[in-house]
Assembly symmetry: C2
Homo-oligomer: 206 residues x 2
Amino acid sequence: MARKSGSDGKKTARELRGAATRLFAKYGYAAVSMRQIATEVGVQAGALYLYTPDKQTLLYQIMDRHMDDLLDAWQEESAALGDDPMAKIEQFVRFHIRFHLNRGDEIFIAYMELRNLSEENFELIEQKRRAYEGLLGDILKEGNASGRFALCDTKLSSYAIIAMLTGVSTWYKGDGRLSLDKIEEVYLCMVRGLVSEGGAKTQSSR
Amino acid sequence: MARKSGSDGKKTARELRGAATRLFAKYGYAAVSMRQIATEVGVQAGALYLYTPDKQTLLYQIMDRHMDDLLDAWQEESAALGDDPMAKIEQFVRFHIRFHLNRGDEIFIAYMELRNLSEENFELIEQKRRAYEGLLGDILKEGNASGRFALCDTKLSSYAIIAMLTGVSTWYKGDGRLSLDKIEEVYLCMVRGLVSEGGAKTQSSR
DNA sequence: GTCTATAGAAGGATAGAC
DNA sequence: GTCTATCCTTCTATAGAC
């Protein structure tokens, strides 16, 4: 793999993924052409195929890498946590908001472009998506079983929490009236209300 | 406007909107071709342009009609309501879930294809979308002002509630373990938890 | 490693026959 | 009101020069 001076394959590959991520998020996978991506990267369209076999694989790799990052980051973040379900869910809320706000483009793609994955690729991503949702589901189950939570419904509570947390990405603009800390605090407050329905309020450590 | 027997313009126009709605929801606006739509309708591609000036207008009309239906339906549904914010929000929750589950395709389009609207069309739709979200916002403001609710944050609560309610569309399949009634009940329960945080629980009339 | 050139398919939209 | 035929553009992906 001889390399000319002045060119850098690794860098171009990175820029390709970056450009594709930005453009897919902004205009949608189907609406973005390889030519557009090439222009953004600063190379000719044909040159892209040195770095990806096709457009579909480009989409899949963006989503797959995102899911891996997400799952790995939670592994790391949750390692030091004890057994208290309330502490766990608070950590999860903070984690989800923070992680997702830092990656607006990837999130958008992850939620909008599932249907543009090939059948096989969809299955692979869907599996990881379910694994992530299962993390929250497990916390809720534990909390409900131990009596720490009083859920309206375990499964639906997990859907509702994921939906409201992910929804932050749809309106958050870094320049608003609310700091990231304040947003986390408000969502913690709301999630506490959700998991404690019908029972005594448990004030957390925050 | 002479018309041959055996053909029916009104009917074809209706079928065009129906086919476009189904296909846009399933594959995405950008990924669907006019030829595909024509095949679904059962006419030739050229014939579509008797009923719509272009593809963009087709998308806009689907979304605009949907928003009008939504706003009109709430007008009707809320007309008989009194002043109690808790009664209002319960009605809103039921209404939103029921309305949206009956129109999975339109919802999907309304939330996924905003970015494929032209700039002017986007503004028009966005205006109606904000009007709808404002309905919930007003209920929350009233409830908070009267002390009936104890919200973590008025604006964010409305975002969170809309997000969790709309999220139902993403997992609901008419054949699941949960009936529509049960789903409404669970979401009512969760929303009560959300609006009553930190204060005494108010048991509603259900 | 990137370029130009191009194959080959498909797209939106229009014209004119019937 | 619908058809066939077609214009013109754009697309993904490949071939081969440098």
